[in-house]
């Protein structure tokens, strides 16, 4: 049994929704240490007792909560640890996980739209992102997803992901392009 601390108690009561024989819970932030092994893989140790070589940090909710809720998966894709708040980790662990996450998720943020051309259900975009200039094509309306009234997620025909955090904060020309085309 894991020793319950104050913060953990709150979580357990949240999880307590009357499921019998719930699966064993993953380790929590304060129990683990994450570091980079010499082989360039990410290693996790639990209270200096147990070690998992090659864990993979993933975001549980990459769109709605990209900064919180990180799950660590082992080679078999089973969750071994769950970190609700990266701040609960020690400095090195947090750094390693953040590094891995930025490398895993590439979603360019669109900062300026040069042009949007629409023809026969296909839309051609020419944009500047935080990763540099890029042109891409999307098909139909389904590849544009309004997360909120001002936040947009776009997936192009190849599977590249783009995001506009708040379109009303862009320059007037870009705002106009969005409003007339989407």
């Amino acid at each position: 049994m894991k020793k319950a601390t104050k913060t953990e108690k709150v979580e357990i009561s949240e999880l307590d929704i009357g499921i019998e024989n719930a699966p064993t819970e993953p380790y929590l932030a304060h129990e683990i240490r994450v570091f980079r092994a010499p082989s360039n893989s990410v290693r996790m140790t639990v209270r200096n007792e147990r070690s998992y070589i090659r864990v993979r940090p993933v975001r549980a909710s990459p769109i709605a909560h990209p900064e919180t809720y990180v799950s660590l998966l082992d080679i078999k894709n089973e969750e071994v640890a769950f970190i609700k708040n990266l701040g609960d980790l020690d400095e090195t662990s947090r750094k390693v996980i953040e590094e891995e996450l930025t490398h895993r998720y590439l979603k360019a943020k669109i900062e300026c739209i040069y042009s949007i051309q629409m023809e026969y259900g296909i839309t051609y975009w020419d944009v500047m992102t935080d990763r540099g200039k890029r042109e891409f094509v999307i098909r139909g309306y389904d590849s544009i997803h309004w997360v909120t009234k001002t936040r947009l997620l776009i997936t192009d025909v190849d599977g590249n992901r783009f995001e506009i955090i708040d379109y009303t904060q862009l320059d007037p020309l870009s705002i106009n392009l969005i409003e007339t085309h989407i």
Binding site: S39, L106, E135, R161
Partner: protein
Amino acid sequence: MLGNKIYKEKMPVILKESIESVLRNGETVIIAAETDLSKDLKFEKRWLIVTSQRLIEFDPGKKNISEVIELVNVRKIFIEDLVGSARLNAEIGNEIVEIVRFTPSLRSKFGNIVQGIDQLIKDKPVNLDVDIEKKRCDKCKRLLPDSSGFCPSCPDRLGMLRRITGYMAPFKARVIVMVSISLLYSLAELGPPYIMKNIIDGVLINAGSDVSEDGTTLLYLLVAGFAVIRLISYVLEIIGTRLSLWLGGRVTVSIREELYENLSRLNMKFYNKRKVGSLISRVSNDTESMMSFLVDGVPYILTNALLLVGILILLFVTSWKLTLLVLIPIPLLIIGGWFFWYRLIRAYRNKYYRWSKLIGLTSEMLHAVRLIKTFVQEKREMGRFNENNEGVFKGDFNSEKEAALFFGTIKVITSSGLVLVWFYGGEAIIDETFTLGSLMMFISYLWMLYEPLQWFGELNTWSSRAMSGAEKVFEVIDTPAETEDQKNPVKIPRIKGQVEFENAYFSYEIGTPVLHGINLLVKPGEMIGLVGRSGSGKSTLVNLLCRFYDIDEGKLSIDGIPIKDVRLEDLRRQIGVVLQDSFFFSGSIEENIRYSNPQATLDQVMTAARTANAHDFICSKPDGYDTRIGDNGKGLSGGEKQRLSIARAILHNPSILILDEATSSVDTHTEKLIQEAIANLVKGRTTFAIAHRLSTLRSANRLVVLDEGNIVETGSHNELMDLKGHFYRMVETQRKSTEIVAVSGKKNLSNNQVIEVNR
């Protein structure tokens, strides 16, 4: 290292120079490929250079090399797919090193390249077949929306039109008639204004002063002529429309027929790449847009082009000065019409999108009415609806606004021409150099002239849509049919059923192999149970056996003959497949059983049904064998469907049988019936059975355990249990979760009973 196929993309000069400067003696470049992402995830150009000795990452912005890996140290090379990007990794010792990064746009290119590097590591000759997807249209330099390589905005209109007209060849006579009717129609249309001019100038102008007998006769004559011309053009229009409808319809019918025929012949790889929805749209929408253009567009263009020429000639003859004035607004009309037309369709598209969202939401709500009520979410749904309702208002408002703008602009421009004519024509009449009749004729022709020009934008959209539709349709028609037979295929009228895999490799998507060297010899009549987790390659083995795909490397032979040499028709005719979720066509039960063997008599159908334990339940239905089953077996229970598909397979009488999860999710009694049916079916046939419920594989002669594309264990049930390996662990897990094995004693008994029944 002879026989290496080299793959090099066009490199910038600086890069070429810096590569040459670092090459060692005897080292050659084998692969040079550009990536679109730097390691710190910026959209920048980097190059992957693979030489005969090293893997190198180049940054064209810098002179020196950024990353070098000696090939001898590389144990494994692979692609790791991340979210929104992917990286090429090399395993060196225990370490995994990232070589280059790229976006999903370049995934398939690097999939190919990885294979090449892998061959290089293994000291095999590099046989790279990188089919670089074209990313941009050669003509307009725009990005392409899919890998098929054609650009929807620049279809080869002339070529397409020529090809479509090719389909009209059998109806030459009708085409000639249609064209001449268009010509006559245009001529007839030119008549009325001219008659009007003569009525005004010849008769009416003199009204009141001296109307002679001749004047009145002329009036009657002219009016009669006017009526006759109207009548003629009425008749011509009806005949012309009918003809174009008929011709357009015929052409699309034959194109659709060809399209459908080819769709059913294409190989599975084609279908893997494309969504069924997009193919259905090719059969319906794309041929439809071609048809509408052929039926309405082509005659419209034809008559209006002729009319335009006729009008211009008549106008010039009447007054060339005035005609030149009239031409002034035309460029404005075309440009204005074009510009505002595009704004208009954009607004309309937006409106339809908003409408479809609202309709979707409403139907979702109606379907989920119980759910909404049980969770008391009416208010929230109302909110969602209102939000979209507002959106629809916005869309409606915008599109109507644009429509008003479009028509308003057109009106202003055309009236400007009219103003010019009234002004200068009026002046000329006062100067008595022009007649009132001529002016009225001029104005009538003016309307006829401006009318078609304002639709220039629409015409362009229309023809482009039709042509790109045609292009998509022709793409399917032109795709070569599947896995064709060899030149001299071996005919095997009766397959004995020996199947042999020899070191077989296969991958659906280049770079991610699914089978890694499968070796398996199956004797005729043997029953093989294929066991393994999902994704372990069981279904792939079966797909290869049906020759839906060809293996990449190694051998697969049937009765000792390589499968590629066996006549496809013979092969497929003698392989039977029973799926868990079998497909049924709408029709009667009898028709559905007979589908596998259309020549079978009703007696044979019934015998098959009896052997499949299906006869009883069929007879108990009010309409017996004539019971109609709806789309995909609607109205049948799961167990009934399974037994019907077994009956179908029995009637098919295959030499090789594939049972893909043939039994599942039924009650124990039904399962017993199905097990009996299967036992009847597999007798004397080479059988491959796939099942997740291991208990159903008890009757198999041998079990083959697959894991990640490798055969890890083979043997009988008991042998594998004694081995305590993969299979044992799987059985143990299932015992824990379903306790099926706990009752396996009973099951054995039922199997014995089956055999007794058969005897």
